[in-house]
């Protein structure tokens, strides 16, 4: 990357020159930041007045400088490219696995449903003449088999046939166990049937029907087991997990039951999309630039000229490591000793920013209220009076939008939210508010505070690809003190768990008649 040349603060075309030189937009971002910092340092000696000037950030600088605030509508940063390639790679593998499990489940389901019917039908096909006729009790059992199969069908449909919410990294242990159990069970029934009934060609048809009924009963009980293991066990909250976003420290707490780590991660991610305010990388640029300034302040020069030789064993390596250690220690000591006034700058900068935000908010509120007075809902009598400009909500929104557009845009730029809301989405929201008779304050609320991630357009929660980083196996259960991370391209969520304690409660009986009171006496008697 070429080093930025020193330039005057007002020359925006020279800023554009630097744009062409660098390769990716990420680098451009950093270049712009450091250039403007250097401008602020260099301007006092250049300017003739020589008074101590603040960094030249007037109200208009956001509009005239280009490519300052990150990605514009059509740019593509390095992060986006990484994200897209990851999506392409992983989509193929995931589909294969999903189809595989789907086919296995369908085969198992068919096996389970057709087995009782096969038990009932096979004797009639294979040895019809030997079979005893089915009496009343036997036919009653037919009805029972039919209805139990129907109930089983509905129950399996309700529990298992739901569109999958997510693709988890490891197999779902309980489901696999249940599938194996069902398979073993059905196999053992077939084995018994094959040996004792098919081979010997048993004539007692009622016994066969009762056998089929017992199979269906046992299948219903296995389904009950499935409900308990898959659904009921994790309903009761057992752990309190705290989820913290790594970039800005947003923290939430949730109560989860006894889940495996991957299922807990899934639950946490679903809560994340609903609860956490949207991730805004533009808000972090200030601290990054401060950190860059800290690092750039000091440089270590080796005056004695002792360069470590090629890595020798023993003392040679120690000398090289020791020199690196002493260098870093020297830097830390010098940084501590240097009289750092960056806290002062931070304080004044934040106060100034706060004031600017409030001023823009005031202008915005006034502009929006004024814009909303320009339209009103058409009443019946108006239709007779002025059959002229009748608009639907979209047109009404487009009509009043220009009068508030500038104030809204300035406000979003000041609070660094402008990439979250496109013009189209703002107009849609305005039409929505007009249709539902909302006040200007209600329209503005969604811009004044950051909402949860789900409320924004799809490209803001593009991070559907999450990586679970955990030291314990992801199919093991949550335990007290387990820590894992959910990483996406831009940030990561760090999750810690704490067990809800065991509560020992005792009782104390109070007789209602024992509530008695006396007056406080203070009497004075003369003697």
């Amino acid at each position: 990357m070429q080093s930025p040349t020193v330039m005057d603060a007002e020359e925006e075309d020279e800023v554009l020159q630097v744009l062409e030189v660098c390769e990716t937009i990420e680098e451009i971002r950093e270049v712009i930041v450091t250039t403007i910092e250097e401008d602020s340092h260099n301007s006092p000696p250049v300017a003739s007045s020589g008074t101590g000037t603040k960094p030249s950030q007037d109200d208009n600088w956001g509009e005239t400088t280009t490519a300052v605030t990150g990605t514009s509508e059509h740019s593509l940063s390095q992060e986006d490219i990484v994200r897209i390639t990851k999506d392409l790679e992983d989509s193929v593998g995931l589909d294969c696995r999903r189809y595989f499990t789907l086919t296995l489940a369908v085969i198992l389901g068919l096996l389970v449903f057709l087995t009782p019917l096969a038990f009932l039908v096979l004797p009639y096909i294979l040895w019809p003449e030997k079979l005893q006729t089915c009496g009343t009790a036997c036919e009653g059992l037919f009805i029972s088999v039919a209805f139990k199969l129907l109930i089983l069908l509905l129950a399996v449909w309700a529990l298992f046939f739901r569109s999958p919410r997510a693709g988890l990294p490891r197999v779902f242990v309980f489901r696999a166990l249940l599938a194996v159990l069902v398979l073993l069970f059905v196999m053992s029934y077939w084995l018994f049937y094959g040996v004792r009934i098919l081979d010997t060609q048993d004539e007692n048809y009622q016994g066969i029907v009762q056998y089929a009924v017992s199979l269906v009963d046992a299948l219903l009980f296995i389904h009950y087991l499935a409900i308990v293991l898959l659904e009921l066990r994790q309903l009761q909250p057992c752990f309190s997990v705290s989820v913290m976003r790594s970039t800005d420290g947003e923290k939430r707490h949730y109560n989860l039951g006894q889940l495996s780590i991957q299922r807990a991660a899934l639950a946490i991610l679903e809560h994340y999309y609903c609860d956490f305010p949207v991730h805004n990388p533009a808000l972090l640029s200030a601290s990054k630039s401060r950190a860059a300034k800290h690092l750039a302040g000091l440089k270590v020069y080796n005056v004695d000229g002792e360069f470590p030789a090629s890595p020798a064993d023993g003392p040679g390596n120690n000398a090289a490591a020791g020199m690196a250690h002493s260098q870093s220690r020297a830097m830390i000591a010098a940084a501590a000793r240097r009289r750092d006034t960056s806290h002062n700058e931070l304080y004044y900068e934040e106060a100034e920013h706060e004031r600017r935000v409030r001023k823009r908010k005031a202008r915005l509120v006034v502009a929006v209220e004024e814009a909303f007075t320009h339209i009103k809902r058409m009443q019946e009598e108006d239709q007779k009076k002025t059959p002229g400009d009748v608009m639907d909500p979209r047109e009404a929104a487009q009509a009043i939008f220009p009068s508030m557009a500038r104030a809204l845009q300035k406000y979003l730029r000041t609070t660094k939210q402008q990439h979250c809301h496109s013009m189209e989405s703002i107009q849609q929201h305005l039409a929505f508010c007009i249709t539902n008779n909302m006040t200007p304050k209600a329209f503005l609320e969604s811009y004044l505070s950051a909402g949860p991630t789900l409320q924004y357009s799809r490209n803001h929660w593009l991070a559907r690809q999450w990586t679970l980083i955990s030291e314990a196996s992801v199919t093991s259960g949550l335990s007290d003190g387990s820590i894992f991370q959910l990483k996406c391209v831009d940030f990561s969520l760090v999750v810690t768990t704490k067990k809800i304690p065991y509560i020992q409660m005792s009782e104390e009986y109070i007789d209602p008649k024992s509530h008695k009171f006396v007056l406080r006496l203070q009497s004075e008697t003369s003697v």
Binding site: Q522, E524, T525, S526, V527
Partner: protein, 130 residues
């Protein structure tokens, strides 16, 4: 008057006061009012140092009455009446003790803060405090 430890003997500087009862019609009056007692609320006593002190205190003196003449002062704690201990008495028992119809004279042992101060200064600081 303060620092009473239950079960331990109480040491206090007391003054003997003898009051002759005055006959007013049917009654013999002493000319002062008492407050306090073990059945009363000690926190409301304005004269005691220790707000847990449930003793009998003189709350009012009728000016010109027999008690006033005998130099009884407001805020005095009555320790004994005619030999009977008054520190652990209910309010009513104390009243009865003071208004015995058969007695013409009551001999009180009273204590007050200023007595202790006076003794301390007169003995020059060698007063063994409880």
């Amino acid at each position: 008057m303060s620092n009473f430890m239950p079960g331990q003997p109480l040491v206090a500087v007391v003054q003997r006061i003898e009051i002759k009862k005055l006959r007013q019609g049917e009654n013999l009056i002493l000319g002062f009012s008492i407050g306090g007692g073990i059945d009363q609320d000690p926190g409301q006593n304005p004269f005691s140092d220790d707000k847990a002190d449930k003793g009998i205190y003189v709350t009012r003196i009728t000016p010109g009455g027999p008690a006033d003449a005998a130099n009884l002062r407001m805020g005095d704690k009555i320790m004994q009446v005619n030999g009977y201990d008054m520190t652990m008495m209910t309010h009513d028992q104390a009243r009865k003790r003071l208004t015995q119809k058969k007695e013409d004279v009551v001999r009180l042992l009273v204590t007050r803060k200023s007595l202790e101060e006076a003794v301390k200064t007169s003995m020059g600081g060698c007063y063994p405090r409880q």
